[in-house]
């Protein structure tokens, strides 16, 4: 009401100053806004999906809009929601899941929307490791998985041959052994990684079936607390810090900033998302491969399963009822095996349905591109446990920043692994409590 009044007042005041030309919408089709964060080549692919869908029917028109990187896209969508100018569909990265979930008045759960539109959503068709990340504790699917990936170990086959490494390392001790050989063979370092909180902490936990936080990694309640300052995590961090002293590990920055180190053969192994396939294939002047993440045999006999990253599509409330029919149809189209298989093969993201995986297999994609099914195998290695379903913590964007900062403090020697993880947990818990309070 207050907002409304001011709005009216300002409108009157402004209308005299400028007339805002609004193009009249004379089209018969309904426009559906889809805000996404896919830059570069992937942006072209998003456009292709939208165009293909638009060509397949006449009622709805999907309008994809690139809104910057993941955080910029999410913030833009939230800001526009507050101003009631929001899109129908927004792509949100996995760390934003808890924030979106808590916004019950803003989010239209995908499963509910599909049911309302009379389109059946067959959840059993989806890969469990992919959708478990986005389900409520009663199993309702909240958002539509779109681009999912998981961290793998990229390695330089030529470098391995030169350094005399015969077997691709499977465990962490083997990674360090191989790194020593690489350094001895004249490489600047052994391995590096990116998206470090996701790869070295969240996935480390899932891979070794260790919780990152209480209450099933936050799935079972807002009163969750971080517990990752345990001996296992501290050990992996301390080992990396130790390895760094002998150049076995080189730090190259957050996100994918360390990719050039791998491309330029400064390091022989790189732990990061499987979705870098396209980029590496284009740039690397050497033979490369991907393998599963290394594990510690003393912590677990056989690794559990890794968790996904990437983003899903969330539907926002507040549009015409008829629009959502179009959104539902688009989601249906998106999940079809043909679209999924194409997207998976083009981008390196994992297929979200078993059908798409089977189709890719039938098309001979994995034979032609060996190693590209590493991610999916790793994700479906075992049935996810409460510790390997994913993570769901409030304010997680900020918490990831904290974890990044504390990890950087270890790498540059200003803190011990133990102190840094204790501090990260302490600072992170503060944000969890704030989130709990704001969302009660």
């Amino acid at each position: 009401m207050k907002k409304h009044l001011t709005k009216t007042l300002f409108s009157i005041a402004m209308a005299t100053a400028f007339t805002v030309g609004c193009a009249g919408n004379s089209l018969a089709t309904t426009d559906i806004q889809w805000w996404h964060a896919m830059g570069g080549v992937n942006g072209e692919r998003v456009n292709k999906i939208a165009n293909d869908f638009n060509a397949s029917q006449k009622e709805y028109k999907i309008v994809p809009v690139y809104k910057g990187n993941y955080t910029e896209t999410m913030t833009a969508a939230i800001a526009s929601f507050r101003a009631k100018k929001h899109p129908h569909i927004v792509q949100v990265f996995e760390v934003g899941t808890a924030t979106m979930m808590a916004a019950k008045g803003a989010v239209y759960p995908v499963e509910e929307m599909m049911n309302d539109a009379g389109l059946k959503l067959d959840k059993s068709a989806f890969l469990p490791a992919v959708i478990s990340y986005y389900q409520t504790s009663d199993g309702e699917l909240l958002s539509m998985p779109f681009n999912s990936s998981t961290p793998v170990m990229w390695y330089n086959k030529d470098a391995f041959a030169k350094a005399g490494i015969k077997e691709v390392p499977k465990t962490w001790p083997e990674v360090y052994e191989a790194s020593k050989k690489l350094v001895a063979a004249g490489y600047k370092g052994g391995f590096s990684f990116g998206w470090q909180s996701w790869v070295m902490l969240e996935n480390f936990g899932a891979w070794h079936n260790i919780e990152v936080g209480s209450k099933e990694n936050g799935f079972a309640g807002l009163d969750t607390e971080f517990t990752f300052n345990n001996a296992a995590v501290k050990k992996v961090m301390a080992d990396v810090a130790k390895g760094q002293k002998e150049h076995l590990f080189l730090y190259g920055g957050r996100r994918g900033d360390s990719l050039p180190m791998f491309i330029n053969e400064e390091v022989g192994m790189w732990l990061n998302s499987s979705a870098y396939y396209g980029g590496i294939k284009k740039q690397a002047k050497f033979e490369f491969g991907q393998a599963m993440l290394p594990y510690y045999p003393e912590l677990i006999d056989k690794p559990q399963n890794s968790i996904i990253g990437g983003a899903t599509l969330w539907v926002l409330k507040g549009h015409e009822k008829g629009d959502y029919k179009g959104v539902a149809e688009f989601m249906n189209y998106l999940a079809s095996p043909e679209v999924q298989a194409w997207w998976h093969q083009e981008t390196g993201y994992v297929p979200i349905t078993t059908a798409a995986y089977e189709l890719s297999k039938k098309q001979g994609f994995y034979e032609k591109n060996p190693g590209t099914d590493t991610a999916i195998q790793q994700l479906s290695l075992n049935t996810p446990t409460p510790n390997s379903k994913g993570v769901r913590f409030g304010n997680f964007v900020q918490v990831r920043d904290i974890i990044n900062e504390e990890m950087e403090a270890i790498w540059n020697g200003s803190k011990t692994a133990s102190d840094a993880m204790d501090d990260a947990v302490k600072r992170g818990n503060k944000l969890l409590r704030k989130f709990e309070k704001a969302n009660k």
């Binding site: 830059g39 992937n42 690139y66 910057g68 833009a76 800001a79 101003a83 980029g279 284009k282």
Partner: protein, 282 residues
């Protein structure tokens, strides 16, 4: 006559050349980067000398476009930047001239209130109040058009402040003489004050043009329509390709192009710019 010491002169020239080298080095690197192909720009060490791909890249950004999905035309983005910069510069100068004139030459109730209302906005950048400002703009239906891109950024007092300083230095006799000639307030403004402030207007134009041209967070937030994207925003977006290495050769080419108009404005108007600025020290 000051004595000539050749040593000192040589030294001065040497220092200046060093300064120029330092200032120009990044631009040289940008130019070099814009003249190589994509693969070369991912291999260390990066080149120090230009390659032969300059025109290929130039064509690539102009014909195919850049940014997300290569569908944004550099030409259109530069045009949007130009419109944005011009609207901000012209709009701000206009409203500031008027308000400074009112505050300096008229006595009226609430004059001081207005004065302070304007002046507290002096230096606060839009970044720190961006979300509430966004809501206002959205409520007014100003997303995705030039009004939304420019009008909120006009709300700052730098220009008003400067014109106030200029007007204060104008001799009072001028107004008295004008009055004797029977000139009204608007007449006085047009015929006397405006011509006097010419160089200051030019100087401000330079500052504001650059300010407008260089915006990026604001356009990023309020545009969802590709036809409204600006060039600086385009560069930032090219850097953010998710899970892909940035295409440095195209980024550097776009950067080079994005620098040309503001640099032309500064260099072309440098005489007026300096004169206008230093006369009032603002």
């Amino acid at each position: 006559m000051i004595e000539k010491r050749p040593m000192v002169s040589w030294f001065s020239h040497a220092v200046l050349l060093l300064g120029i080298a330092m200032v120009a080095f990044p631009i040289w690197i940008t130019f070099v980067g814009a003249s190589h192909d994509a693969i070369r720009m991912t291999q260390a060490p990066l080149p120090l000398l230009p390659g032969d791909q300059f025109f290929v890249n130039l064509k690539a950004v102009f014909v195919q476009g850049v940014g997300n999905a290569k569908e944004q035309s550099v030409g259109l983005m530069m045009f949007n930047s130009l419109v944005m910069a011009m609207m901000i510069a012209v709009g701000k100068i206009t409203i500031s001239l008027l308000s400074a004139y009112a505050i300096v030459y008229f006595r009226f109730p609430f004059r001081m209130l207005f004065f302070w209302m304007i002046f507290i906005t002096l230096m606060l950048p839009v970044e720190v109040r961006i979300l509430p400002t966004f809501e206002v703009v959205a409520n007014l239906g100003m997303l995705n058009n030039y009004w939304g891109l420019t009008v909120p950024l006009i709300a700052s007092a730098t220009a008003t402040f400067m014109f106030r300083q200029v007007f204060l230095t104008v001799p009072d006799e001028l107004l008295e003489a004008a009055r004797i000639d029977g000139a009204g307030p608007m007449r006085f403004f047009w015929d006397i004050l405006l011509p006097i402030s010419r160089t200051n207007i030019a100087a401000l134009f330079v500052i504001l043009f650059i300010y407008g041209w260089n915006q990026y967070l604001w356009p990023l937030l309020i545009t969802t329509d590709k036809s409204m994207y600006t060039i600086v925003m385009g560069i930032k977006q090219m850097l953010e390709a998710a899970e892909e290495a940035p295409e440095w050769h195209l980024i550097m080419m776009t950067t080079l192009l994005a620098m040309i108009p503001p640099v032309m404005v500064v260099v072309g108007m440098q005489k007026l710019f300096i004169k206008g600025l230093t006369e009032t020290e603002k």
